[in-house]
């Protein structure tokens, strides 16, 4: 199996299992950034980054749990230090067809910014929604513990900001 195919398989596996992992996460403290924020319990919109290794690469599945009111969101996935290569080809591949999304890899490969919106003002379906996945070159088994989410903002119709939270979990 070539590495690209292996990563894709890993991405699907991570994405499909992310809801179950969310429950497991409560018992799996993987670092400071994984400590469950107090806001998570209250927020109806939760961004979930699930990180696993595939050879010398790490792949991060990106899912969003919403209550059916979110029409747009933005955030940056902060990568571990020293990352030299990022593959973001599938970063928004899981979005519904009525949503648009773009991601932006910073020049220094320190973060990947996501901007997701519905041109028609529709809301993401309630429940867990796959956004996509990214991969990056890091052999560290502790990559998830070095990752964070910054600048998360979720809005509903009329630009109303919604309470939101983010979690990064590892599966290795």
């Amino acid at each position: 199996m070539n590495i690209v195919k292996h990563l894709l398989v890993a991405a699907v596996a991570i994405s499909l299992s992310s809801a179950a992992l969310a429950a497991r996460d409560a018992e799996q403290e993987l670092g400071a950034s994984l400590a469950k924020p107090a806001a998570v319990a209250d927020a109806n919109q939760t961004l979930l980054i699930t990180v696993g290794s595939a050879g010398k690469s790490q792949i991060a599945g990106i899912d969003f749990q919403s209550d059916g009111t979110a029409t747009a969101l933005q955030f940056a996935v902060l990568l571990p230090k020293g990352v030299k290569g990022v593959n973001a080809d599938d970063c928004v591949s899981g979005l519904p067809s009525n949503f648009s999304g773009k991601c932006f890899v910073s020049n220094d490969k320190s973060n990947v910014a996501f901007v997701i919106y519905s041109a028609g003002g529709e809301a993401l379906p309630a429940g867990m929604q796959t956004i996509g996945s990214i991969s990056f070159d890091s052999a560290s088994k502790a990559a998830a513990g070095q990752m964070k989410v910054g600048g998360l903002e979720v809005v509903a119709e009329k630009g109303k900001k919604l309470a939101s939270a983010a979690k990064v979990v590892g599966v290795d």
Binding site: T71, A72, L73, Q74, F75, A76, L78, S100, K102, C103, F104, V105, S106, N107, D108, S110, N111, A113, F114, V115, I116, Y117, S118, A119, G120, G121, G150, G151, E153, V154, V155, E157, K158, G159, K160, K161
Partner: protein, 304 residues
């Protein structure tokens, strides 16, 4: 994040004059001598393809020479800064779009003149002049700093460089320092299509002036006017498109125009291209905020 244009020292502000009042487009807040009338201040749908304004609801749309608004706020000001937006839509000839004078109501001499024609802005200050190339059919910010005592003048012309996956701003500077030869203080200003013959239209908006304090560009893509580019602006870009269509087709206008700057790419109209432009500006801001490089933070993909 802070908007530079809102970060002015309050005491330094001379004038911030809109083209709208509480309920309608109007030039009533321009109290100097003027030839433009309320009917020249227009909503976007009143001018066809292009938006009539850069920000807020209304802009001043002028179809011939000799139509302008006047501002007598300057009071023997030897240091004078101003910033305004202009949308040159000329197919021929030229138009003087800004003038500053040494007496009220355009009286006395005229130390500063800014014109558009033949694909460029021309700055005439005292006995010196300089040009900045600028294609017609786009919104441009023009900001200048004039110091009569120091005999200096510098100006910056800005326009979005949105293209494909990149976005930013092209800022072109013109400096006439030390060559002006005119040390007169400013008493009044005019904005519009003041003089010179041409074919087409001139649209102006968002005039602000200060006594020696830099003003800065408004944030393109900040559709809701909160001085920040974020996904919250999408709703307002979308509503701005809908509102213009409602107005254009004469139906009931149930959707509000965006209060900020929905024309993210400064191309002259709010349309679906502004969605992509806004995504690019937000993505750039996030990349720069979290890249660990001090000092390169941006707002709406433009330097703070």
């Amino acid at each position: 994040m802070k908007s530079l244009s809102r970060n002015l020292l309050m005491g330094a502000i001379l004038a911030a004059l809109p083209m709208s009042g509480a309920l309608a487009c109007t030039v009533s807040q321009w109290t100097g001598a003027k030839t433009a009338v309320d009917a020249d201040a227009k909503l976007p749908a009143e001018v066809g393809t292009y938006n009539s304004r850069y920000s807020g609801s209304c802009g001043l749309v002028l179809g011939s020479s000799g139509d302008y608004v006047g501002d007598n706020h300057p009071a023997n000001d030897s240091t004078y800064n101003a910033r305004f937006y202009v949308f040159p839509e000329l197919s021929g000839g030229s138009a003087e779009v800004f003038g500053a004078y040494t007496a009220d109501d355009g009286g006395g001499s005229q130390p500063i003149s800014i014109s558009y024609g033949s694909g460029q802005f021309t700055f005439n200050v005292g006995g010196a002049s300089g040009n900045v190339a600028a294609a017609a059919g786009k919104w441009y910010s023009i900001e200048f700093a004039y110091d009569a005592a120091a005999d200096t003048f510098s100006a910056t012309v800005g326009n979005s460089t949105f293209s494909g996956s990149t976005v930013g701003v092209a800022l072109t500077n013109v400096s006439l320092s030390g060559t002006i030869g005119d040390v007169a203080a400013i008493e009044s200003a005019r904005l519009g299509w003041i003089a010179s013959a041409g074919t087409g239209r001139i649209i102006v908006d968002e005039f602000e002036s200060t006594r020696g304090v830099a003003i800065g560009r408004l944030r393109p893509g900040d559709a809701n006017g909160d001085a920040d580019c974020s996904v919250a602006d999408y709703n307002f870009v979308r509503d701005d498109i809908a509102a213009k269509l409602e107005l254009f087709f004469g139906g009931s206008n149930t959707t509000a125009l965006a209060a900020g700057q929905p024309d993210c790419n400064e191309g002259g109209q709010t349309d679906v291209a502004d969605y992509t432009c806004l995504a690019n500006r937000i993505g750039t801001d996030l990349n720069n905020q979290f890249d660990g490089i001090p000092g390169n933070e941006t707002e709406c993909a433009e330097a703070l």
